[in-house]
């Protein structure tokens, strides 16, 4: 039995220690907001926070998450920045299919918590690990700037 601290509560899973956190969350704990996109830390769909650090759950064995605070998309609205990010996402109509968006919201929240006033280069660095096949990048950038209180990029 492995005990994981997820969204402020202890959860027990009976899985081999090398099982990626992603599948423990999705298949055993029913937390399907964390998405599978590649399984190789290439797309960011599975981004969660481990002790506040954006982390790819698909390549993080549960053994590496013991004793860490795991936060998933399901609870990010309990964080003031996370909530603001979600509000900005809705206000600017960021999602298309929405599938990558939990990962995008987690990555953007981590960025804004570390750098409340990110530059374009900061945004590129923090967000380029998250693929959006629908192409919502311009709105993601604008939404991050909106949260940061920076001038919104001109968008027709």
């Amino acid at each position: 039995m492995t005990t994981l601290n997820i969204n402020g509560k202890p959860h027990q899973v009976d899985l081999p220690a090398d099982t990626p956190l992603l599948w423990a969350l999705r298949d055993h704990l029913g937390l399907t907001g964390t998405k599978f996109g590649c399984g190789m830390a290439l797309c960011g769909a599975c981004t969660v926070h481990l002790d506040g650090e954006p982390t790819r759950a698909c390549v993080t064995p549960i053994s590496a998450a013991i004793d860490k605070k795991i936060v998933t998309i399901e609870a990010i609205d309990q964080d003031a920045t996370g909530k603001k990010v979600q509000e900005a996402w809705l206000a600017l109509g960021v999602p298309q299919c929405g599938y990558c968006q939990p990962g995008q919201v987690m990555a953007a929240t981590a960025l804004l918590k570390q750098k409340p006033q990110p530059t374009d280069a900061d945004i590129d660095a923090a967000m380029s690990g998250n693929i959006c096949r629908c192409g919502t990048y311009p709105r993601i950038r604008a939404a991050i700037k909106q949260v940061a209180g920076l001038k919104k990029e001109t968008k027709s």
Binding site: L15, W23, K35, M40, G98, Y99, R133, P138
Partner: protein
């Protein structure tokens, strides 16, 4: 006949979130009123089959359209309005836009509207194939009539209760009012009585005047599923969870047409969590939508299934396509493009005009296979209880899925239900139900136990229905002023038809009609040829399909000719488009015309000119740019929508490429949800950049080379255009026919980008992807 809201054993399913589930239960108990679930006729059933009368648009689609309010609208006693959406949500916002159309005509308060997704049942709902950029184009009017008919029934019920003539009542935001006496009744209070009234005749309906629209054309209604999506509550195909569910992945033959000769499951079965290993038989050609066969691993979770699959030892027979090699195949296509081929359009005398031309220019363009790669890979969950199969999946084609599952399980169709989840992108991949059939077969092999089948990213890239690969060869004869007097285009590409009839070697009219034969240029001598190409993999739809190679070649070539003639590319393009005229597509040998009526949807060069002029003006065409920067233009007509693009490209000293800005002008007729049109055009722009700069699927020894996003790269935030400006051209009125939106934004991006690179550097890109072609070492 099943009620639209009636999902069996709802409690057991995690497919709807809690609040929605409670709501459905309430509806079932307290008696929702419209949508009473009596057998209903679809338009297709009502109309006796006319064999000789040509049908277009929604009329020509399987099962046509339905506009019966009892099918699409339910009103509860408390006034909660449920609107059924029968098209699949894959990012285009259709679960917002179609119900919004109904709600507008119904004068419903959007805050009190719930959207319910229809299962696959086209006799009941009309066509559900969510592709071809046609959900709004085909269902705008039927959905307006749904809303208007329901409104009329509520008005009649109120008038009867007040004993006043129905002409004296008005509806406004969930209420019927009698202005003369100031009385009002809420929709909830009227629903029971309204449901007992006959559905009014469709010709008697009063549709709103556009000036009365509350939601349509305003772009103010937020995304219905937005909240769920960003909170991780959206239910996608891959998220479905059923009681006692098992998890599966499949090892499929690496080469199309191959099969497992033998396998050893010993090590796989030792992986903790693995339950069983099952062989799935392949199917002989044609590929159709059939599963590819292979060895499935069933486990207690997805990870165990993946680990089990790694441990399988399989000996594969490659079959007839084991030597498919993209480099060699390209040489074959090029050889074919240099020889005459089947003539598919011919005006004037191209050979004589070429002979007599002052100058002859030719160019060859190459575009590789692509995979759609939706962020959510294909996934499906199935179970079979008492001979009844239920499937939950992210599908663009729920009715087709239902038919195919029934066929494979040898069940009558009414014993198969296909529930549609949100789609984490589709782009054409999820039009093919091969993965849904696989899930059903696995559940069957497990005696009906629920099985969720997940495709890994590797599976998705190895076993897509790929976008075709093509060589486009163009030759033009120019007169003394540099204007083309002759145009010869040879297009060579394996056809989608080969997926259904393996011997097909020519593009079908529906592929040729994607911008190659129906090129509306004012050139007196114009011939299009289509030499043979044999397919060695499954060819399928990719967002905007054959428009991609056709637009890339044609719009690049136009800029090449302009450069040859020393003329401005924008002026040159406008000159080729010629004066405004409405061309009957049949005179261009295009008998397909996107399935639409040639009278209602002619090729309108005036509209093509207008988007081109608009985008040039808005982008500041001709503005001075710093060294290493350039503007490129392209215009393309597809899905009966006109799009023109100006890309600004910046190429560094080292050959690094960035895109500071893209302007896109779109004329798609009346705009029902302009906000979502913009987001679709932005997304199409980035998909276009992605395929232009990075996208390539290649084959070696019959199998796909690319495995995951490190080798099949997609555009990311840092390489995306920094700014995309969308300019929507206003339609004259809402009687203008609607154009498509989801796809037509893609085709002009790649040529506009490559034309911009030429303007910036003088380097001409003739093969995609660009990847490191610009790099200076």
């Amino acid at each position: 006949m099943k009620k639209p809201l009636d999902r069996p054993e709802l409690d057991e399913l995690h497919i709807v979130n809690i609040s929605r589930r409670t709501f459905l239960k309430e509806l079932a108990l307290t008696g929702f009123v419209l949508a009473a679930g009596f057998p209903l006729l679809s338009k297709a059933d009502e109309t006796a089959p006319h064999t000789d009368e040509a049908k277009y648009g929604a009329d020509a689609m399987p099962h046509g359209w339905v506009d019966n309010p009892l099918v699409f609208v339910a009103i509860a006693d408390d006034g909660a309005v449920t609107i059924v959406c029968h098209r699949s949500e894959m990012g285009q916002g259709i679960r917002t836009s179609l119900p919004m159309v109904v709600a507008d005509e119904l004068e419903a308060d959007w805050q009190r509207v719930r959207v319910e997704q229809a299962p696959g049942d086209e006799v009941r709902y009309g066509n559900q194939d969510t592709d071809g950029s046609r959900s709004m184009r085909h269902f705008f009017l039927p959905m307006r009539r749904v809303g208007a008919a329901a409104r009329a029934m509520l008005e009649s019920a109120a008038a009867a209760q007040w004993q006043v003539p129905v002409q004296e009542v008005r509806t406004e935001q969930h209420q019927v009012r009698h202005p003369a006496t100031g009385r009002t009744l809420g929709y909830g209070q009227l629903a029971q009585a309204a449901a007992k009234l006959p559905v009014p005749d469709r010709d008697s309906l009063r549709l709103k005047k556009p000036s009365e629209f509350r939601y349509i054309s305003k772009g103010r209604v937020g995304l219905y599923d937005g909240q769920d999506m960003i909170k991780g509550q959206g239910q996608y195909g891959i998220d479905v969870r059923l009681e006692g569910m098992l998890y599966a992945v499949i090892a499929r033959p690496p080469v199309y047409g191959g099969k497992a000769l033998s396998y050893d499951a010993g090590e796989a079965l030792k992986v903790p969590g693995v339950v069983r290993v099952i062989e799935l038989k392949g199917s002989p050609p044609p590929a159709d939508y059939n599963p590819l066969g292979g060895i499935a691993v069933i486990a207690r979770n997805t990870w165990a299934a993946i680990q089990g699959r790694e441990a399988l030892k399989i000996e594969w027979d490659k079959g007839p396509h084991g030597s498919y090699d993209s480099a060699a195949y390209r040489a074959e296509l090029e050889a074919a493009a240099r020889q005459p081929g089947k003539v598919v359009r011919n005006s004037g005398d191209v050979d004589a005009a070429l002979q007599g031309a002052a100058k002859r220019v030719s160019a060859e363009y190459y575009l590789p296979h692509l995979a759609q790669a939706p962020m959510e890979p294909p996934a499906a969950t199935a179970r079979i209880v008492n001979g009844q199969c239920e499937v939950w999946s992210c599908t663009q084609a729920p009715q087709v899925s239902r038919e195919r599952v029934a066929k494979w399980l040898k069940l009558p169709e009414d014993k198969v239900t296909v529930y549609v989840t949100l789609l984490g992108g589709g782009f054409g991949r999820k039009s093919k139900p091969d993965y849904i059939i696989e899930a059903a077969l696995l559940s069957q092999a497990m005696d009906g136990q629920p099985v969720k089948l997940t495709w890994t990213r590797e599976d998705d890239l190895h076993h897509s229905y790929f976008h075709t690969v093509s060589v486009e060869r163009l030759e033009a004869g120019l007169d003394a002023r540099g204007k083309p007097v002759a145009w010869l285009h040879r297009t060579v590409a394996p056809t989608i038809s080969s997926t259904f009839a393996p011997d097909s070697k020519h593009q079908m009219t529906a592929e040729l009609g994607m911008g190659v034969i129906n090129v509306p240029f004012a050139i007196p001598n114009l011939r299009v040829e289509n030499p043979e190409a044999e397919a060695h993999t499954r060819i399928g739809w990719f967002r905007s399909v054959s428009n991609i190679p056709h637009a890339f070649a044609i719009q690049s070539f136009v800029a090449e000719l302009a450069a040859e003639a020393g003329l401005d590319p924008k002026d040159y393009l406008l000159d080729l488009i010629g004066p405004p005229r409405r061309i009957d597509p049949r005179t261009l040998e295009d008998t397909w015309n996107q399935g639409e009526s040639p009278e209602v949807y002619p090729v309108d060069t005036g509209r093509l000119r207008r988007v081109t002029e608009t985008v040039a003006r808005e982008a500041g065409w001709g503005r001075t740019l710093p060294k290493g920067r350039g503007l490129g233009i392209a215009a393309h007509y597809s899905f009966v929508t006109y799009v023109a693009v100006v890309v600004e490209a910046a190429v560094g000293e080292d050959g690094s490429l960035s895109i500071p800005r893209v302007d896109v002008a779109v004329d798609c007729g009346p705009q029902v949800n302009p906000e979502r049109i913009r987001s679709q055009i932005e997304g199409a722009c980035i998909m276009g950049v992605s395929l232009a700069t990075l996208g390539e699927i290649s084959f070696k020894d019959g199998a796909v080379v690319q495995d995951n996003f490190h080798t099949y790269e997609l555009t990311r935030m840092d390489d995306a255009p920094r700014e995309i400006r969308v300019h929507l051209l206003p339609a004259t009125d809402f009687d203008t026919p609607l154009g498509g939106v989801g796809e037509p934004g893609v085709p002009p991006i790649a040529p506009a980008l490559c034309n911009a690179i030429f303007a910036a550097t003088g380097q001409r890109i003739r093969q995609l992807p660009i990847r490191d072609q610009l790099r200076k070492d």
